[in-house]
């Protein structure tokens, strides 16, 4: 088999005196959907941020396509084809939906001036197709005026639109309604069919079981279980998540 | 006294405004020349127009153990205690540029070197009245950089006294220290008040831009001011400006330091010096002085 898309090797991450991740290793294969599960404070978001280049590991390293590397900022991870939906959504409240979606990846002409009409249209289209969120009548609305679920939908729309090789989803459905949650999960499967891998962080084991191919369960900053869907069932997963 | 023939005398000069005020250039130069001539180790400090800070400076100089302090006594009351403490400690204190309004009676300083700014304002006012025939009921304009600053109160007060005596109204406005902004404000005032009969600068900023403000407002009135700068000298020379008042600041720096050195080394008693003789500079006198501006004038 070819080298995995992305691999973590013995990653440790400390915040001052607190060790959030301890010697964590796992890999993400091509077209694979991984469920990253674990208790609150287990280190799931820290792992996602690390893979996105927001946090730098205290020790350990990553490899992309088998080549050892380190992400020092978000641009590095974007270059590696990683797109992330952050737990805290990472949106700028004072900017419009369109501008949030295209933030840092604006469509511009040769001089750097924005193609506003074009971006606006795409934004509207993405919002309507990727997530069927209600109540957003205009892509010019400020993100700060949206409801919790609407904000999350914008973050999802952005990541889905720019996805390339790996999509990281940190509790993407926490504020979503039943209908939108279903839509998102089927998006993940659709992307998988397009050979985009995903890492889904969630506390809902049913959702994870519904779409994931493999499960990585974390506890207190370490990996305690790493199993393919075929080799496990919901009961066992629940047991691992709850009891470790 | 305490300092030997070959030892350095130490002295601190305390100026009440901040270092960017041009007026004190010749003062500092005079002090430095005296320091070089009399083997004095001199440091100059600036109080930035804050009496509390000036107290700190006087106290700090005393704490550092200098032989003498030259200080602009810009407040009649604020520095009495600090100066008396320094004098009690055996430090020679000489006032310059500004004195206690009660003179020697109001303060422990041993001598004062300077002139009377109120009097120079009064003199300028009277000369303008005489030269341009200002009369009762007229309005004159006297913009002030910082209206509450001592120099502005004294000079402006002198002008007002001269005008009051004839029944002329003095209008004033805060102009600030920024020349461009001062010029704007003065121009706008003149546009609004076309009946102004004469304009008086107060400090170097208003005196420098006054002629240009009159030009901008497209009126023609006489103008006079205070202090010396190349622009002011040029304006007086060209006749755009009637005259400017000078007070020989070089001497206000030279004398105090020289006197401190002589008093510390030989016990000579400091004495008052009046530097205000020959303050009035008009077209007839300005050319001779022009080249010395910024150094000895």
């Amino acid at each position: 088999m070819a080298a995995p898309l992305l691999e973590l090797h013995g990653i440790t991450k400390r915040f001052g005196a607190l060790t959030a991740l301890k010697d964590l290793s796992f890999h993400i294969g091509e077209g694979e959907v991984i469920g990253l599960l674990g208790d609150n404070g287990a280190g799931k978001s820290t792992t996602v941020n690390l893979i996105s280049g927001i946090h730098k590991p205290t020790s350990g390293h990553l490899s992309v396509d088998g080549k050892q590397t380190l992400f020092t900022c978000r641009t590095d991870s974007a270059d590696a084809g990683i797109e992330t939906i952050y737990q805290n959504t990472a949106l700028v409240d004072d900017l419009s939906i369109t501008r949030n979606i295209f933030m840092g990846r604006e469509r511009t002409n040769a001089l750097g001036f924005l193609k506003e009409g074009e971006m606006r249209e795409i934004a509207m289209e993405v919002l309507n197709s990727a997530v069927h969120i209600s109540g957003i009548d205009s892509p010019d609305k400020l993100v700060g005026d949206l409801s919790g679920g609407q904000k999350q939908a914008v973050a999802i729309a952005r990541a889905v639109y720019f996805k390339r090789r790996i999509l990281m989803l940190d509790e993407p459905t926490s504020a979503l309604s039943v209908r939108e949650t279903e839509a998102l999960l089927s998006q993940v499967l659709k992307l998988k069919a397009e050979n985009v891998s995903s890492v889904l962080v969630t506390h809902n084991i049913y959702h994870a079981y519904q779409v994931c191919d493999r499960f990585v369960i974390m506890s207190h900053g370490t990996k305690v279980f790493d199993v393919a869907k075929a080799d496990t069932d919901i009961a066992q997963l629940t047991e691992y998540v709850v009891l470790t | 006294q305490s300092v030997g023939e070959d030892e350095q005398v130490t002295a601190t000069m305390i100026i009440y405004l901040d270092p960017s005020v041009q007026f004190f250039n010749p003062v500092v130069r005079g002090a430095e020349d005296a320091a070089a001539a009399f083997n004095v180790s001199l440091d100059v400090q600036y109080a930035n127009n804050d009496p509390v800070r000036q107290n700190d400076l006087i106290d700090s100089a005393a704490a550092a153990g200098v032989d003498g302090i030259a200080v602009a006594i810009s407040s009649s009351d604020a520095f009495d205690e600090s100066i008396c403490n320094a004098v009690d400690q055996g430090i020679i204190v000489i006032g310059f540029n500004n004195d206690d309004l009660e003179g020697a009676a109001g303060n422990c300083r041993q001598a004062y070197v300077g002139m009377d700014e109120e009097a120079s304002g009064y003199e300028l006012g009277q000369r303008m009245i005489a030269e341009f025939g200002l009369e009762e009921g007229d309005v004159v304009f006297n913009p002030r950089e910082i209206p509450e600053a001592t120099f502005a109160v004294a000079r402006g007060g002198g002008i007002e006294r001269a005008m009051d005596e004839v029944g002329i109204t003095v209008e004033t406005v805060r102009a600030g220290l920024d020349p461009a902004e001062a010029q704007n404000i003065m121009t706008q005032f003149l546009i609004a008040n076309p009946d102004v009969k004469a304009v008086f600068g107060t400090g170097s900023v208003t005196s420098t831009v006054g002629a240009a403000a009159i030009r901008d407002a497209e009126i023609d009135v006489p103008f006079a001011g205070f202090d010396l700068a190349v622009e002011i000298a040029n304006a007086v020379e060209s006749g755009e400006m009637f005259a400017t008042m000078d007070q020989q600041p070089y001497l206000q720096g030279y004398h105090p330091i020289a006197q401190i050195a002589l008093a510390a080394r030989y016990g000579l008693t400091p004495t008052d010096v009046d530097t205000g003789q020959g303050a009035f500079l008009d077209q007839s006198r300005i050319t001779a002085i022009k080249d010395l501006i910024g150094t000895y004038r």
Binding site: V92, L114 | Q22, E171
Partner: protein, 338 residues
């Protein structure tokens, strides 16, 4: 979808209230309205009393055009930086320093244009330095640039002592920066042009989008891949460079530089920005707002001088009117949203 009206499928018809509301939803909407109302009041009054209130006299209009650009250029630069979430208190000192350097160089025989270029380069360099110290050591820019305020003010004295410097450039220089073009003051045209350039940069260019994102939520902007450090440093550089431009315009006009000039301009520039609707916390505002904020401050001073308000207490009236205009702005703004 939640709709504002119950009008069903027919396209809703909009009354004037609707358009007013849409206009006010524009970030600079309410300040445009306030400014417009004040101008209309002044103009009507001036037409009724042409002799007592010479607001519309050619001299007064000329003064307006000459007076506004200095504060205006400072405020544009400071405004960009404020939107990026940082302050620059050193602009007043940089303004004085760059002007002095330029004047001294011209006195020494350099061409005015070259000297102006050097002045701008110095301003930009100081801005970059402010930015590097702020970011490298993670300090509040308030402290760094307060240090800059004192330091560069001192540097003025170190460079040329406490003396006023004459500025006598070639006539072409004066014509371009302080002359009259098409009947308008050249400095004012520069200011207009720069306002337009900054408007385009901030509101319709990629860089502006990054400035708003950086100031609005730095963590999110970083997480999404914007190099917020670089954005901030460029914004610092712009503030420094615009301080130098302000210095050039002021010096070209007055023909001399005073070492103490520019004191307190930093607060005035920030005030103009805040009046124009910029948030002190960054991420919000518009360049048109800054432009009108500057004009509003000047109009207030101008009107007070024209109606011969007692000059001694002028600042009191200015204070009241500035706060009053801000209140009016806020009330209109709230009405627009409610």
């Amino acid at each position: 979808m939640i709709t504002a009206t119950d009008s069903g499928s027919a396209p809703p018809r909009h009354g004037p209230a609707h358009y007013l509301r849409r206009f006010l939803a524009n970030p600079a909407g309410s300040i445009i309205l306030v400014f417009g109302l004040i101008q209309i009041a002044c103009i009507i009054w001036a037409l009724l009393n042409p002799n007592d209130f010479r607001y519309l006299s050619p001299q007064n209009l000329a003064i307006l055009m000459r007076a506004v650009p200095v504060l205006g250029c400072l405020a544009l630069g400071v405004g960009v930086l404020m939107i990026a979430g940082e302050f620059d208190l050193s602009v007043g000192s940089v303004y004085a320093l760059t002007a002095i350097v330029m004047a001294v160089q011209v006195t020494a025989g350099m061409s005015g244009f070259l000297a102006a270029g050097i002045a701008i380069a110095i301003g930009v360099a100081i801005g970059v330095l402010n930015g590097l110290i702020t970011l490298r050591f993670n300090l509040p820019s308030f402290i760094v640039t307060l240090g800059g305020l004192l330091f560069w003010r001192g540097a003025v004295l170190l460079y040329n002592g406490a003396v006023q410097v004459r500025f006598d450039p070639e006539p072409a220089f004066t014509a371009i920066f302080a002359g009259t073009i098409f009947g308008l003051n050249a400095a004012f045209l520069w200011f207009l042009g720069l306002t337009f350039a900054f408007y385009m940069l901030l509101h319709h260019h990629r860089f502006g989008n990054h400035v708003f994102a950086t100031g609005g939520n730095r963590a999110a902007a970083t997480a999404i891949g914007i190099n917020t450090g670089r954005v901030k440093i460029i914004a610092f550089a712009i503030a420094g460079g615009m301080a130098a431009v302000a210095g050039i315009l002021a010096t070209a006009r007055v023909g001399s530089v005073q070492p103490g000039q520019g004191t307190g301009l930093e607060l005035q520039a920030i005030a103009a920005c805040v009046i124009g609707g910029l948030s002190l916390r960054g991420g919000r505002g518009s360049m048109i707002g800054v432009f009108l904020g500057v004009l509003l401050i000047h109009t207030i001073t101008n009107v007070l001088l024209l109606i011969r308000a007692p000059g001694f207490y002028l600042e009191m009236f200015i204070a009241v009117l500035i706060v009053g205009a801000s209140i009016l702005n806020q009330l209109i703004d709230r009405r627009g949203r409610a």
